[in-house]
Amino acid sequence: MSYIAKPKVSHPKLPRNKLGLTERDYEGSVSTLCAGCGHDSITAAIIRAVFELNIKPHRLAKISGIGCSSKTPTYFMSQAHGFNSVHGRMPSVTTGANAANRELMYVGVSGDGDSLSIGAGQFIHAIRRNLNMCYMIENNGVYGLTKGQFSASADIGSKPKKGLANQQEPIDAVSTALSLGATYIGRSFSGDKEQLVPLIKGAMLHKGFALLDIISPCVTFNDHEGSTKSYAHTRQFYHHVIDMDYVPPAEEIKASYDKGSVMPIELHDGSKIVLRKVDEEYDPTSRAKAFKYLRERSNAGEIITGLLYINEGRPEMHDLMGNVDTPLSELPLESLRPPKGELERILRGYR
């Protein structure tokens, strides 16, 4: 039950990060999701990422909509502020929160129903604004809490537990985001923590809208034979085209890489991500090429993963608006009023 707090068992030898916190300190309440749910693996990857990034928990805001995925912010970072909002409306709450306080780190957790059906409008408009946030879609192709209806990400031909196979075109979050100009787009799999953790780190530190589409099988309603979002199907058709490593600020790139396939990119805070291309042809800085590649591979039935697109050059929402650096919520109200006596002068214009 999510209201049962996890007992904090102290292991003196647990590794601590630069803030002196252990990974356990980044945990939340006990998950109430089904045993084996992909979402719990993603929660674990988030915890690992924020622990390793030395994030002060109270300087991060975790926001969600409604659905199984949207329950997960209770399962990580109990010392972070959370906002479990309305179905499909996580992006607007995050937009307003970020508009008011640009200094916090924003992590939005959503699902395929939450983002691609009821909340499709808010999802795409947050991208247009290049809202500075990490937006995760925990994608299982079904509605779990209402017992297994297909969502808009269900693939053509995918079979439900009961009833007929899906015949409608799926909405692919990655190509949607690519077409709308999201500035950091990754896809991964809940079962691939090694790939997922650095992707999350990069997404959190990227300045702008970072989308992670994470295939996260629903063990109860969509993990059977014939489903294209099952563990077995995902493992079989899953391809890394581009992997990444995260290198903190002021650290050297130590690992040795094959020449030609390596691409280091510096993030705004001085940290770096090193992209390792598994497929030499792939260019994660070209929207057109990325789009073509994704289409071709997805038509061939492959699930393409990794950091699929990155653009560190586009200004985020506040810079597009020309806002002050100080969070608006921290400006003293007195400083926001016209000067003393000014009302008299303003009203003269209405005489």
Binding site: M1, S2, Y3, K56, P57, H58, R59, A61, I63, P73, T74, S78, Q79, A80, H81, G82, F83, N84, S85, V86, R89, P91, S92, V93, T95, G96, A97, N98, A99, A100, N101, L104, G121, Q122, H125, R129, H318, M321, G322, N323, V324, D325, P327, L328, S329, E330, L331, L333, E334, S335, L336, R337, P338, K340, E342, L343, I346, L347, Y350, R351
Partner: protein, 600 residues
């Protein structure tokens, strides 16, 4: 009947032809002559080509509402000649463009028809189609100036203020004024019996619309985040906020903005943004109208239950559905009072005019933060978009905003543990923390069932404890919201009770009824929940005429629901055709009730 400083002028034109500025010029000129004036714009939901009317009531007595007379009709739109002529009050005047003969169309014996060849005059004197159309409007201002005896010096001065350095525009506009003025002066007896004589009754008054006033209130309240989706008649509120911010919210050292205006994809997103920003501690607001409120209701329920401040301006228009988007009404009272599913109720504030829009806007942020709940300011199209003459706004530089119960990092440092929904002061209002302040202040904001500690719950008694506490907060709100305006005349059993823009029409009606020896007491509610004073007022009277601008007696319903007002006492006088309330309606209905044997 029309008389000196008691004249109603109505100008019929085609929208999109620039008549709005001509009408504004006329309105302002009379005001500058020191004569109180009421302006009402009746415009179509359209950009160009449909009929539009502007009504100017010259009221030496200083009444605030429109009149149901038309003394001088300026019929500039051939499409509506017949209707416009029929509307002129017997004994009145009709001015029309006599460039083309109108024959029998203008046949009415009980009025005086004055033909002025505006098109011909302008075609002879100006070049260019657009210029001729624009200046034709200015020419009728000139003709009216002659007919009513307006001061040409004031008109010249207003044109100079409008056009500033563009001297050629002042000259061409003055030429057009002269064409109309001279033609009227030469051909007719000027001024008419109904005319305007300078007074000294507009000192310390301004002419402003409610949306601009509310926008200025938001600036003074320190609002930093405005999220909205464009919708008539609320759009000019955000336009106003934007232009004030462009002037007063730019950091001089960096040239950067200390405000964020976000044009949302729809009203669902607009309110979501407001809640996100308020959750972070900014003063945030959204202006909208009825259809927008409908879309916002799910989030409004969350804000009520999760206790997040929000300021929502609902500039009401005529519903249901798209309805008549450019006409006024007060028909969202119930849908706002109980917006959302489940047990919810919300604080409503009812400004009566633009001056109150300014003060109410500031107050709405204080109340929203004090009570940690949405506050809706219910204005309407009449208040929001029409130019009203109101007293100059006052601002106390000593004003200290009420940010409510927000714990600082120091407070949290000294606390053992923070629980979001504990009522430690017994007023139903818990303490809140702002994200990012302190690790101890973190909590989970949710619309799902929660207990008084802030934890998730599906336990009935834990759930009920929280919603019962919200009722205690509601009672605290009752003591904090603005008190009604109450006027007792002489001792009597009957009273008028109204809300918002009903104010002007009702007060004028009371004067008129008093002249017939019917004196009524008066109560104008300024907020929901209703304060004790409203309850006492109703209890004191045998009959209370509830005047409101909707079909279903929504205010009356709310009085019955919230303070259990006795329905037997409440007599509804309902005005809901989309036009602003006029005193004549109230007088007529009250007299009809009295004729039926109702107490006066």
């Amino acid at each position: 009947m029309a008389a000196v400083n008691d004249v109603v002028i109505k100008i019929a034109t085609v929208n999109g032809t620039g008549s709005a500025s001509a009408n504004g010029l006329l309105h302002k000129a009379i005001f500058r002559m020191g004569v109180p004036v009421v302006g009402k714009n009746f415009f179509p939901s359209n950009i160009q080509g449909l009929p539009t009317w502007y009504e100017i009531r010259v009221t030496g007595d200083g009444y605030q509402s429109r009149s149901n007379r038309t003394d001088l009709m300026v019929a500039m739109n051939a499409q509506t000649y017949a209707k416009d002529m029929a509307e002129v009050t017997p004994g009145g005047w009709l001015v029309y463009d006599s460039t083309w003969p109108r024959g029998q169309l203008l046949d009415r014996q009980d009025i005086t028809v004055l033909g002025i060849p505006f098109s011909k005059l302008c075609n002879e004197n100006f070049d260019g189609v657009r210029t001729r159309i624009l200046l034709k409007n200015i020419a009728y201002v000139g003709a009216i100036a002659a007919l009513l005896g307006l001061d040409l010096k004031i008109i010249t001065q207003l044109l100079e203020e409008t056009f500033g350095d563009k001297k050629h525009l002042v000259a061409s506009n003055m030429e057009a004024i002269r064409l109309g003025y001279d033609y009227a002066a030469e051909h007719f007896q000027c001024p008419l019996e109904a005319s305007v004589k300078a007074m000294d009754s507009t000192k310390d008054q301004i002419i402003i619309d409610g949306n601009t006033a509310a926008a200025l209130g938001c600036v003074y309240a320190g609002a930093t985040v405005g999220a909205w989706y464009p919708i008539t008649p609320s759009t000019s509120l955000m336009d106003g906020f934007r232009s004030f911010c462009a002037k007063y919210r730019i950091e001089p050292e960096t040239d950067k903005r200390t405000y964020a205006i976000i044009q949302a994809e729809d009203e669902l997103a607009a309110i979501g943004m407001v809640l996100g920003a308020s959750w972070m501690g900014a003063r945030a607001f959204t202006p909208t109208s009825g259809p927008g409120i409908s879309l916002m209701t799910e989030f409004i329920g969350l804000a009520y239950y999760a206790e997040i401040p929000a300021v929502i301006f609902n500039v009401q228009r005529t519903g249901p559905s798209t309805g008549m988007p450019t006409r006024t009404q007060q028909a969202d009272i119930l849908s706002c009072a109980y917006a959302s599913h489940g047990d919810t109720k919300h604080i409503l504030l009812f400004p009566a005019d633009p001056a109150e829009c300014f003060t109410t806007a500031v107050q709405s942020f204080d109340l929203a933060e004090r009570l940690q709940t949405p506050v809706m300011v219910l204005s309407d199209l009449d208040i929001g978009m029409n130019d009203w003459m109101v007293p100059e706004f006052e601002w106390d530089d000593e004003y200290v905003p009420d940010r409510g119960k927000v714990l600082s990092a120091d407070d949290l440092d000294q606390m053992d543990k923070f629980y979001r929904y504990l009522d430690s002061d017994g007023d139903g209002i818990p303490y809140r923390t702002l994200p990012g302040t302190h690790p101890k202040g973190s909590f989970f904001t949710r619309g799902s069932g929660h207990n008084k500690l802030g934890g998730y719950t599906e336990d009935g008694s834990e759930y009920q404890e929280v919603v019962d506490r919200l009722l205690e907060k509601w009672e605290t709100a009752r003591t904090l919201v603005p008190k009604p305006e109450i006027i007792y005349s002489t001792f009597n059993n009957a009273a008028i009770l109204t809300v918002g823009s009903g104010n002007g029409g009702c007060k004028e009606a009371m004067d008129r009824l008093a002249s017939k020896n019917i004196s009524l007491n008066y109560c104008r509610v300024k907020a929901f929940p209703f304060s004790e004073e409203v309850k006492d007022f109703i209890e004191k009277h045998e009959v209370v005429y509830v005047v409101e601008q909707n079909r279903d007696a929504q205010l009356k319903t709310l009085l019955m629901l919230d303070i259990e007002a006795d329905p037997a006492k409440l007599v509804s006088l309902l005005h809901y055709n989309g036009m602003p309330l006029n005193a004549g309606f109230v007088v007529e209905r009250v007299l009809a009730e009295i004729a039926k044997g109702r107490a006066a």
